[in-house]
Amino acid sequence: MFSYYLKLALRSIRRNPVLSTLMVLALGLGIGAFMTTYTVYYLMSGDPIPHKSDVLYAVQLDNWDPNDPPTESQRDVQPQLTWRDAEYLMHNPTPASDQAAMYRTGAIVETGSEGQTPFEGNIRATYPSFFPMFDVPFRYGRPWDLAAESGHERVVVLSRKMNDELFEGENSLGRTVKFNDTPFQVVGVLDDWRPTPRFYQVDSGGTFGDAEDFYVPLNTAVDRVFLPHGNVNCWLEPDGGGIEAFLRSECVWLQFWAELATPDEAASYKDFLDNYVRSQKETGRFPRPLNTFITPVMEWMDVMEVVSTDNRVLVRVAFLFLLVCVLNTVGLLLAKFLGKCPEVALRRAMGASRRAIFSQNLVEIGLIGVLGGAVGLAFAWLGLQLIDKLYRGYQHLVHLDAVMLVTALVIAVAASIAAGLYPVWRVTRLAPAGFLKTQ
């Protein structure tokens, strides 16, 4: 029976080509618009490190200006740490399973090989614990060791993409890369790694872009005066010139993450931070009330408002848009189905049960839904290309994965069935006698 209904549905769709096209297009546009904005939203609000996001915590210490208004929410507290505090946490025993301080910087990169044009490379300066803590996969080599970190050695880990570009994807361990004319030795090459959003630093541009191409020891970077490329905030000017005064200052510029495997560990880590701040208060630092925060990844994404307000507005608007398209389709379907009354009456007279009529028409609107979904996917794909063109750094937010494909089809069929249910119900309730006489 299904194939018969399908045949009838195709015939019916062909009978009113303009009306059918209008319905499929309207449904497709609504679904396309919704899927476009929702895909971006879905990928923006995705979990960048699903298997560990609940044990990785961002650390906040409130070392700010005592004259600032009282802290009302976590958002009022600086999201970064000073060099002094980060160093203290890195070099003293804490209850955390793992920790890493880090910052984004950049330098001009040369390999010294013929014909290679210098370019500005994105560098993450961090501790070697960064890699195991964030489960960063290695293709060649391994993170630098603690000796290299404390020895301020000039070593570097490359992203896979950068290794492909600079060394044609070969095992480049032992080769040299020059940052601002200073040679660094390659000790590791990452495999593909693209946390979206790039959760460990979400302050400004590039939150949805690639992870950095180069990773160097934090102390080496500071040694070489690789200045931070992210936000630097100071409520007190450094007490002198030069990098030393900057490191001593109350300026915050380092992101700090801790892996806390259990709730107990998290609780004792929080105590540890509180005690540290209390002890610092005795030296005259931390003049504000005690405000330390440890925040797991997904909550942190929320605190940092990673999903833009614009995107949230667009998802709402696109949803309403879809609603208009569905209403439009209900109207058109109703008109179309009222036009089918004589045929429905005839079929009823010939012995079709209500259920048969219902199924037949359900297949038809289901088919319109599938067509609308397919057109919607095409529109969504176009829409995502448009988003890619309009926005910078959204290239990883504009792909349709299997989940979204299925979602699109489900929404399409659900929307069309929602749109068609009333019209179908109307024709199903039709008294068969009424339409058989000559009009």
Binding site: R15, A352, A431
Partner: protein
């Protein structure tokens, strides 16, 4: 074959009640060809709708083929229509975008028949009305008489016991009308019971029996007489 006893039909709206049929009594035997006539508004259409199980009577009882069908559920009525009743309409009511084959197929689709069974039935029915060679034509490519023959093929394909025709020649010229009537007579000759509603007295005369509906009641003398005899008999037995 068909037995209506005191069948009435009342249409109610908020303002008025219309009595389309009042205590209609009628019996049609197996193999009969009965013509139902009557002026406009006499209740012919309502009679037809009830006889074809398209509507339910408000009162009285209706037996078709020995089965009480007056109070059936919608689904059960649909099944009876499908299996026992064939319809022929004044305006043919072919589905314009289905070809002849698919049009004849419509009632068969609602029967649990195999594809092979259906094909055979459709081919036979089209053969019978002389249109087998045009199975792929669309209704619009045929003359009115041919269209009505397709409708007859559609009505016959499921081998119903009972054929209901509503002004089957109303939209046809006299030559075609005669052909259609010849065909109906031939079908009746094969044993199918036919009830034909028409306002055309001449056409009605070709039937074995004529019934006139006036003001929602049958004015066929035989039937009236029979009904009275029945009632007297019931009263007698009540006295005993």
């Amino acid at each position: 074959m068909l037995k209506m006893t005191d069948v009435s039909k009342v249409y109610r709206t908020e303002l008025i009640e219309t009595h389309a049929l009042r205590n209609l009594n009628l019996e049609v035997s197996e193999g009969e060809f009965v013509a139902v006539t009557g002026p406009s508004g006499s209740g012919k259409t309502t009679f037809l709708n009830i006889a074809g199980l398209l509507e339910k009577p408000t009162g009285g009882s209706y037996e078709l083929d020995g089965e009480d069908v007056g109070r059936l559920s919608d689904d059960a009525a649909a099944r009876i229509r499908n299996e026992k009743v064939g319809f022929i309409f004044q305006s043919f009511n072919l589905i314009p975008d289905l070809n002849l084959y698919d049009n004849v197929d419509v009632p068969l689709r609602y029967r649990r028949w195999s594809g092979k069974q259906r094909r055979k039935a459709i081919e036979n029915a089209l053969e019978l009305v002389g249109l087998a060679s045009r199975a792929n034509y669309l209704p619009s490519q045929l003359s009115g008489g041919q269209q009505q023959r397709v409708a007859i093929a559609r009505a016959l394909a499921g081998q119903p016991r009972f054929l209901l025709a509503d002004e089957p020649t109303g939209n046809l010229d006299s030559l075609m009308a005669r052909q259609v009537m010849d065909m109906l007579e031939a079908i009746n000759g094969e044993g199918t019971t036919i009830v034909m509603v028409t306002h055309d007295q001449e056409l009605a005369r070709r039937a074995q029996r004529n019934i006139q509906v006036l003001d929602g009641q049958v004015s066929d003398l035989d039937t009236l007489y029979q009904a009275r005899v029945d009632r007297l008999a019931r009263e007698d037995s009540a006295h005993v």
